[in-house]
């Protein structure tokens, strides 16, 4: 397990790359990772940052291995473009742990992620239930070039058309930009009544949405018939506050802490030469076999007013 002695991994250094530094979620992730690295329990090289650019990721990985990294922990936002890097690392027998995304091709030691398709499905089921199968829902899609965004969109759309054919979904591409979402929502509100909103990233869309609804006097408690049911995605503290204030109804907690914790856990394990096999784990998740390795599917709990104070949620642990 975790916290294996430093000598266990010997001088096998872990190379870490962060995917981007301009989003709440990834900053939280980076904080968790850095905390563990600083605590000395992990023998890691100073982390690099690829700023959401694949070629920077590729050159960072090569620099990290150049500096002697024997295990690589990355979060490739473009799951295809990393393929040849993975092959290259495999040829050097350097195990790779991929956080958040499952590379399309190339050997990985372990993928640590919550299932993005499950996010979309959960959001669909929540909204479908609340709206009792009818109404109009606006979906703020991320970027079509992002695998996570695509997975969420697809799962949400499939689930809606299958289970709630009477709910009209207005899927709005936003490129993960808050002002685009706000404009689209404003247009949609002008065009007719909106009953529900699914925002694929709370960090980006929450504030603009709330500001606009406030201005339109639509930010009313769930008891009011004008209330728009909103489900968000990420699980950052601002969303929790909004849930408590009755402004939004739910969010899906994407476990930044678990990403960091188990990313490092498997990195450590790889350094120590451990192996894993498919099946349930000791931390409430399941490891499944994927074509190019294994994947630990972490739970992504749905957070509503009922469980928003649960101390085990990562957003509630911040600042502790």
């Amino acid at each position: 397990g975790r916290g294996g002695s430093k000598s266990g991994s010997g001088d096998k250094k872990i190379g870490i790359d962060f995917p981007r530094s301009d989003s709440d979620f990834w900053n939280s992730y980076a904080k968790y990772v850095n905390a563990d690295v600083k605590s000395g329990s992990i023998n890691a090289l100073p982390p690099t940052n690829s700023n959401n650019q694949t070629d920077v990721l590729v050159s960072n990985v090569s620099t990290l291995t150049g500096q002697g990294a024997k295990v690589i922990l990355i979060a490739p936002q473009d799951t295809g473009a990393i393929a040849s890097t993975l092959e290259n690392l495999a040829s050097k027998h350097i195990p790779v742990i991929s956080v958040d995304t499952r590379p399309d091709k190339g050997q990985v030691y372990m993928v640590v992620r919550a299932d993005n398709q499950a996010y979309g499905t959960k959001a669909c089921q929540f909204l479908g239930g609340k709206l009792k199968g009818t109404g109009t829902v606006v979906e703020f899609e991320g970027d079509l070039t992002s695998i996570n965004g695509r997975d969420r969109s697809q799962a949400f759309g499939d689930c809606m058309s299958k289970n709630y054919p009477n709910i009209k979904v207005e899927a709005e591409p936003t490129n993960w930009e808050g002002d685009v979402a706000a404009s689209k929502l404003q247009d949609a509100l002008n065009a007719g009544t909106i009953n529900g909103i699914y925002m694929q990233a709370g960090g980006v869309f929450l504030a603009p949405t709330l500001a606009l609804l406030q201005q339109k006097h639509l930010l009313v408690p769930p008891t009011d018939p004008k209330h728009i049911t909103i489900i968000s995605n990420d699980g950052i503290p601002a969303e929790f506050q909004a849930i408590k204030a009755g402004q939004i109804d739910a969010t899906i907690s994407q476990p930044a802490d678990l990403y960091a914790k188990y990313g490092l856990f498997y990195a450590q394990a790889a350094a120590e030469g451990k192996t894993f096999s498919p099946g349930p784990t000791d931390h409430g998740s399941t490891i499944i076999k994927i074509p190019n390795g294994l994947e630990d599917q972490l739970p992504a709990p749905l957070v509503t007013a009922a469980n928003v104070d649960d101390p085990s949620l990562w957003a509630n642990q911040l600042g502790k």
């Binding site: 301009d22 900053n27 930009e177 404009s183 002008n190 960090g203 603009p208």
Partner: protein, 339 residues
């Protein structure tokens, strides 16, 4: 080919035609806008509603203010890419200095009472413009790449300051300016209108405003005519950056938050709108009113596309097509080659 000397003596009809097109040029996008409105009207009953038009106006305010800034700078014969980052950085620094040291997720330095946020924000803008001016005018560095470097650096600075988080706590002044309504119109629309009116008046009827055209058209001649070229350009860069900071304030207020990822890539839209609106990238030519029609045209097209339910996959393609088509329309309705 410069064959002015030997060109056939201009016949008077041609000459007066030329003069009248010079005036028409400012209005050259109006027919296109009318056409777009017609298309939108056919598309959806919800298009031609005051709600929709108000929404369009409100959504255009920040871009309009940026276009105002860039138009002033382009008319003076310069360009500034870093406006995009100023939009984000200025409010973030203001929040950072003003927000209390504890109690929020993002803790500021608690330096001042909250009403200071707006002046600080504008001051940060002014400082950025001053630095750009120093690098371009005093150190003689290439303006495109200087402001490109600043674009990256200032965006990086936002991340250094806020750690990449979104700041959700705003001082009331920001929230007010972004959301208030005055007489049924959003406050930001009023302010934006006033800024344009001031700009148009200054560039149309005041000596110092007119000097921007002289500077952009021929800086040597402007200098000989007694215009303080460097100083004026510097002031324009500072005003431009202050306008960008102001746009950032509107943005932050409207969206209820500030973050590094807000507005990335906007600068391209700013240039597109400005040039489509008839402002020359080589300086000395164009009008602020024209630039404003440029913004509104792009916004109209975007709105028409939204009402037309263009698929998510195709939207970016259409955005590009839109820029090219608007450019061609503006080229042919104004009748002048672009440079």
């Amino acid at each position: 080919m410069s064959d002015a000397a030997s060109a056939p003596p201009a016949d008077p009809a041609a000459r007066s035609r030329r003069i009248s097109t010079r005036w028409l040029r400012e209005f050259s996008l109006l027919p296109a806008m009318a056409l777009l409105i017609l298309i939108g009207f056919i598309e959806s009953p919800n298009f031609l509603t005051s709600d929709n038009f108000l929404a369009m106006l409100q959504q255009s305010t920040e871009l309009s203010v940026l276009v105002l800034a860039e138009a002033l700078i382009l008319i003076s014969g310069r360009m500034d890419l870093s406006l995009e980052s100023t939009v984000t950085l200025a409010p973030v620094i203001a929040l950072w200095l003003v927000l209390p040291t504890s109690g929020n997720r993002f803790n500021g330095l608690g330096f001042g009472v909250e009403w200071l946020a707006i002046p600080i924000c504008l001051l940060v803008g002014a400082a950025i413009g001053a630095v750009n001016g120093f690098l371009i005018l005093k150190m003689n560095l290439n303006g495109f790449v200087v402001t490109l470097g600043m674009l990256t650096m200032l965006h990086g600075l936002v991340i250094v300051i806020d750690g990449g988080q979104t700041i959700f706590t705003l001082p009331p002044s920001f929230a007010y300016i972004g959301n208030a309504e005055w007489g049924g119109l959003p406050a930001s629309v009023w302010v934006c209108g006033v800024l344009f009116a001031v700009g148009i008046a200054a560039l149309g009827w005041y000596r110092h405003g007119r000097s921007l055209y002289a500077i952009g058209g021929n800086p040597g001649a402007a200098r000989a005519a007694g215009i303080r070229v460097e100083r004026t350009v510097w002031i324009v860069l500072i005003i431009g950056s202050m306008l960008a900071a102001f746009a950032g304030m509107l943005y932050t207020g409207r969206l209820g938050s500030a973050s590094a990822s807000q507005g990335t890539g906007k600068i391209f839209e700013v240039f597109a709108a400005t040039v489509i609106g008839g402002v020359s990238m080589n300086g000395g030519r164009g009008s602020l009113f024209g630039a404003l029609t440029g913004v509104l045209t792009l916004k109209l097209i975007e709105n028409v596309l939204t009402f037309g339910h263009v698929s998510a996959q195709d939207i970016e393609f259409f955005n590009g097509v839109v820029i090219l088509v608007a450019l061609i329309v503006s080229r042919y309705t104004s009748g002048a080659a672009q440079d």
